[in-house]
């Protein structure tokens, strides 16, 4: 159980100005500007939940994660994770959490992955039987097998990311923070990583907090999303709810043979080409089945698809709406 209440955090950032003269002046007196990184952030995440934490760069995502990991002390507000305040009881708190920083490795570069795992086991004082059991389960789930005997430097990015995740789970944490876990991965690795996170959440009931810019991650993994912008939580809700809000409009794409069909009054044309037409319509005025029937009565349909707004478009629309 994670609760954040009115967490605020501001940083003092030195103003930098261009030009040699200003740089010289900056040596002696500096102007500072206050940046509100987090502004009354509150939310609750229950055990076993999987939450997508999204927002543009610089919105305060990593500051929040740092606060929740006990690395950073906020200016004000309260945060309880499994009954502990992270920055006050750092050592006992971090034993319960696992953290994967997508762009920062925790594996020793020049030795076989398994050596890193064993060192991590000793850092967390995991007993050998338990460690072996966890390792066996995880290597099987992530299909690592021989890979863990290879030095980290000779792994592909996808293999390395899977090993990173295993490394963060060796001590059986109750909460897993994933900071951009699929960044830079190829399609196959992305799917493997997502599938694994999904299984982990389902089987071990691990709470997962995921920050990402890849909306497919969000679509595939999380029911709930938290949107942060300019240090404030702008939205906390389920993905389907959001989709409903934005999907008052659906897109119909039809590949057809023959003459261009006439459109119903409730359809807005997006692209009309010989053999393919794309229209949007409002399903409250024209039901999906009626729309399809309307077209297929006129022409021979080769292929047809109805698309709701994608998570990507939705988030772009959200960013726009909140002007962040």
């Amino acid at each position: 159980m994670i609760t954040l209440q009115n967490i605020s955090k501001s940083f003092r950032v030195a103003k930098r100005q261009t030009g040699l003269g200003n740089a010289a002046r900056a040596l002696f007196s500096r102007e500072y500007k206050k940046v509100q990184a987090l502004d009354n952030v509150s939310f609750t995440i229950n055990e076993g939940e999987m939450v997508g934490y999204i927002g543009p760069n610089g919105a305060g995502k990593s500051t929040t994660i740092k606060v929740m990991c006990g690395i950073l002390t906020p200016d004000s507000g309260e945060c309880k994770i499994n009954g502990r305040t992270p920055w006050k009881e750092r050592k006992s708190h971090v034993r319960d959490i696992g953290v994967v920083f997508g762009q920062r490795s925790q594996l020793w570069w020049d030795v076989p992955v398994i050596d890193s795992f064993e060192l991590i086991r000793d850092i967390y004082k995991v007993n050998s039987n338990e460690y072996q059991k966890t390792l066996d389960t995880l290597t099987e789930l992530l299909d690592l097998g021989e890979i863990i005997k290879t030095p980290t430097r000779s792994l592909s990015l996808g293999q390395r990311m899977r090993c990173e995740i295993v490394a963060s789970l060796l001590h059986n944490p109750k909460i897993l923070f994933l900071d951009e876990p699929t960044i830079g991965l190829d399609a196959v690795s992305k799917i493997a990583v997502r599938q694994f996170i999904k299984n982990l959440n389902a089987e071990m009931k691990t709470t997962v907090i995921l920050t990402t810019h890849d909306m497919q991650d969000i679509e595939a993994l999380t029911e709930r999303i938290l949107l942060i912008g300019k240090g404030r939580i702008l939205l906390d809700g389920s993905l389907t709810e959001l989709q409903k809000r934005f999907s008052c409009e659906k897109t119909l794409i039809v590949d057809y043979n023959g003459q261009m069909p006439k459109l119903s009054d409730n359809m807005t044309p997006v692209e009309l080409k010989e053999g393919r037409l794309t229209v949007t319509f409002d399903p409250t005025k024209l039901s999906v089945s009626d729309a399809i029937a309307y077209i297929s009565n006129q022409v021979e349909v080769a292929d047809i698809s109805v698309v709701s707004i994608s998570a990507e478009q939705m988030v772009a629309a959200l960013y726009e709406e909140h002007k962040i």
């Binding site: 500051t63 006990g70 002390t73 034993r95 920062r104 060192l119 850092i123 030095p151």
Partner: protein, 258 residues
């Protein structure tokens, strides 16, 4: 402690992956400090004694400094390279481990190529100990032991200060090298040769003289007050402000994240 051994082993295996680089760096380390010794050697070709110290006695002094500095640098490398650790976010990574911050930084880096200097220091000891004209009774052996062990700790404290300062600023931190690298270079001679003022600073502010100059006086028999045997232990008090500054810096880091 056992965990530190594990870290030691993994660092050793990592560095042994690049054997050629390891040997070249070690050789480089050896040559750098060797030039210093040549300086001492040529100086003594012209003068028989420096401030009353003979060639062998100065060598003994150099050996102590070289040895302690090499050990401190080999194992305290994590603190020495701490600005980098903050810069690339490795320190944040370390903070999510359930161990003390000092331990995590200490274990994060080890630099085995310092063995180049260490071997030289041992060679110097081998030459200077029998030829320095010191009668190696039990109290003198104890003195030398305290000089070395406390010396390592005091140099180590300097690295901790260096790391603590980098919590506040990374710019201009090279100033600290005057006392760390400088301490090593100038410490090749007994500190009294630099004059009274410098000696005072190195006694009361940065207590390098407490494990180098004063016990050396006892070793070579200039002083026979047994208090001089234990001056290195007094130097250990230096660790208190070092640790205090570290805690202070760490608190500030946790509240600003940079």
């Amino acid at each position: 402690m056992k965990l530190y051994g594990k870290f030691f082993s993994i660092h050793l295996r990592c560095q042994m992956q690049y054997k050629a680089s390891f040997f070249m760096t070690s050789l480089g380390q050896f040559l750098v400090s060797f030039s210093l010794l040549l300086g001492i050697f040529f100086m003594f070709l012209r003068f028989n004694t420096v401030e009353g110290f003979t060639f062998e006695q100065v060598l003994l002094c150099s050996a102590v400094i070289l040895f302690t500095y090499s050990i401190a640098e080999c194992f305290g490398r994590g603190f020495d390279a701490f600005p980098m650790m903050i810069g690339n976010g490795e320190f944040d990574r370390a903070l999510v481990r359930p161990r003390s911050e000092v331990f995590l930084v200490l274990a994060s880096k080890m630099e085995f190529s310092r063995i180049g200097r260490l071997l030289q220091a041992i060679a110097l000891f081998c030459y200077a100990i029998p030829t320095s004209g010191i009668d190696w009774s039990a109290d003198k052996v104890l003195t030398l032991f305290l000089m070395i062990s406390c010396g390592v700790v005091i140099f180590f404290g300097l690295f901790v200060i260096y790391a603590a300062i980098s919590f506040f600023t990374i710019e201009g931190i090279e100033v600290m090298n005057i006392v760390t690298d400088g301490g090593r270079e100038f410490g090749a001679y007994p500190f009294s040769i630099y004059g009274n003022e410098v000696l005072k600073i190195l006694t009361y502010v940065i207590p390098l003289a407490l494990f180098q100059y004063y016990p050396l006086l006892y070793l070579i028999g200039v002083r026979d007050n047994p208090l001089y045997i234990f001056t290195p232990l007094i130097g250990l008090l230096f660790l208190i402000p070092c640790y205090g500054l570290w805690r202070f810096g760490l608190r500030k880091y946790k509240s600003t994240g940079s």
